[in-house]
Symmetry: C2
Subunit: 383 residues, 2 copies
């Protein structure tokens, strides 16, 4: 270990954490495991005794080869990903998938089916709907807009088209704080594509039910700058060949996603996070950890007439907890008082108002205990 | 300053540098200023006293706002970029521009002109040439392939089409080690687009001569994961509107390139590097520094019958120095002996063979002195 990885001397002690770091409830980019940050501090200067920092290594050299190989192996192992799936490291955020998916899988004459349960799946559908005359048609199979996206539709509320080329949905809705706890039923043989950005690897996942799962890394898996894409071989093969090379999934299959210079550092951090999940007990342990954390906060909401949750109880996300006080003035006071108490990033999105506590994998249980205690105290003072 | 930013205790002392870091001649990602790495070590844990590390901050929060604003201001100031140019932070590497440019600026019926002087401009042309029936035609205005890209074409060797929508060229050829020391003459009013990836901000640049200059950050400006794009307002406006939103340049204009989650960390490091260039004396100082470094090595080549440069002397790059010994066996020996002596990344690309020394802005002069001395010594032993 190099001295550069020594613990930071707290500059200002935070009242909640007792260190120089705060409890970070940001919706994403979200907090990362502190172990991982310590490793990054070291490796930025000199990684693996190479005399070169991680930011400065050739993306085709041995050090990066090993990082990319290990990252893939670790991600595969965590969810037991079958051998006929590729793991790709893409860029442009999950948002770039909004055009890549229809460009690849929605050729002229075909129909892609979209389930809309929030802000991001709406944007995904909107892009597909305006691809133009050279592509197929986007079909809105369901939307939960009627109740400001506070619920997840039942299977009989989803109306697929006659012969969908694929079905797309977003399995956790960061803004509204709802989460799918089942996989939607799709017609036999239809590829299911899932945007799992804001809860990827927060609990076990059966990849074999999907043709493609993708996630911007910046919630549960790493920093902004890389989109993890797990995609089945037969779907890759179905992709259009008359679109630009870097917009075809197949281009990223050989050589660990390196047809161009990949976002090496983001993949490296994602690899460290995957190792952290593994040594923390894997996805089953993450689920237990996340359920326990969310329960601390939801219990306060359920036991109170002061706080009101946005999402219906059966659809409440384990990652993004949305709630409000009786009025906006108190919401604002809540956010500013919480910040003073060492809890940052609790302001809700304007779409729901109120508060949002994002508690991704790396967010510590102590932070949820602190928030729950703060909520009770705040209610007492202002209720 | 936090203790986490303390200097690393050398693990193994490198014979050339006397520290635990080597002289890194990598063609890119390339070496970064050590000052910058020290700052990153600190900020990864806790940036600007926020109690949150740079990887964990919301891309819409105040800390990131400030980083993006300062990065833009610093980049503008360094080259005195006129007010009618935007600065965009894109992803997908410079390679993603290979399809974005024709999708935006080469509509059906038009012609885009391409000057090919190496591997990357060839790939750029190849992608444009196969855009398909919904787009225009790519015209090869010049190529230096006839002499394995060892030279830069004169203006009278470039044959433009009748009415080009734009002219594209690559101003430094990383693989072959050639560099444009003039800006090619183009017909009046034709937008000139330049891929400056591997020598961006290595010397002063007159942006007003270009409609667009772009550069993957990972050579001179930062880590892999962001493409800096400087583009004139009228060119942005000319861009197609019937292509996916995230493939239109105009989408990135509002809110500092944040229609989606941007690669925050890569922009942050680019901002630190811009500040480092400014306090090192700006682009004029970079030019002097780079000319002095390159001269050390080129002087050895010019004074020797043992070493042979790939590029013609008048076209020799200040960034990527390509040369070889009398035979491949000696080339291999050179690379392995240099590595033992603390100089990494000297193996040339298979396109040229031999050696390549990439000496970007952050590469220290001492490294070129060490290489020049090593070359003389190696010639003595093996000549």
């Amino acid at each position: 270990m190099l001295a550069s990885a020594a613990p930071a001397a707290p500059s200002t002690k935070n009242p909640a954490t007792g260190t120089d770091r705060v409890f970070n409830f940001s919706a994403g980019p979200g907090c990362l495991p502190e172990d991982v940050l310590r490793q990054v501090q070291q490796d930025v200067w000199n990684i693996a005794g190479s005399g070169i920092g991680i930011l400065e290594h050739s993306h085709r050299g041995k050090v990066v080869d090993k990082i990319f190989e290990e990252c893939e192996a670790d991600i595969r192992k965590l969810a037991n990903i079958p051998a006929n799936y590729r793991i790709l490291y893409l860029t442009g955020g999950a948002s770039a998938q909004n055009h890549m998916i229809p460009m690849n899988f929605m050729p002229k004459g075909s129909t892609g089916d979209y389930i809309v349960t929030g802000h991001w799946s709406q944007k995904t559908f909107d892009q597909a709907a305006k691809m133009g005359p050279n592509f197929g048609t986007a079909h809105l199979a369901a939307t939960t807009k009627d109740q400001n996206h506070s619920y997840i539709p039942a299977d009989d509320q989803i109306k697929y088209s006659a012969s969908p080329a694929f079905v797309h949905y977003c399995s956790n809705n960061t803004l509204y704080g709802t989460e799918w706890f089942r996989i939607p039923a799709v017609p036999a043989g239809v590829p299911l594509i899932c945007d799992a950005s804001s809860h990827f690897y927060s609990r076990p996942i059966d990849i074999s039910k999907f043709a493609m799962v993708y996630a911007g890394a910046q919630k549960n898996m790493g920093p902004a700058g890389v989109t993890l894409c797990i995609i089945r071989d037969d779907l890759i093969e179905k992709g259009a060949k008359d679109i630009p090379e870097l917009l075809q999934y197949r281009t990223f299959v050989p050589e660990f996603s390196r047809p161009n210079t990949p976002p090496v550092f983001a993949v490296y951090v994602m690899g460290l996070v995957a190792k952290w999940i593994a040594r923390s007990g894997g996805l089953a342990a993450m689920q237990k950890h996340n359920e326990a954390k969310a329960k601390l906060v939801y219990d306060v909401i359920d036991g109170s007439k002061f706080y009101k949750g946005h999402a219906r109880p059966e659809a409440r996300s384990l990652m993004n907890l949305t709630f409000r006080t009786p009025n906006e003035k108190l919401d604002d006071l809540f956010v500013s008082e919480a910040k003073k108490a060492g809890m940052d990033g609790l302001k809700g999105h304007r779409a729901t108002g109120g508060m949002r506590a994002s508690i991704y994998n790396a967010f510590p249980k102590a932070g949820c205990e602190a928030l729950a205690a703060f909520m009770r105290e705040f209610e007492k003072k202002n209720g």
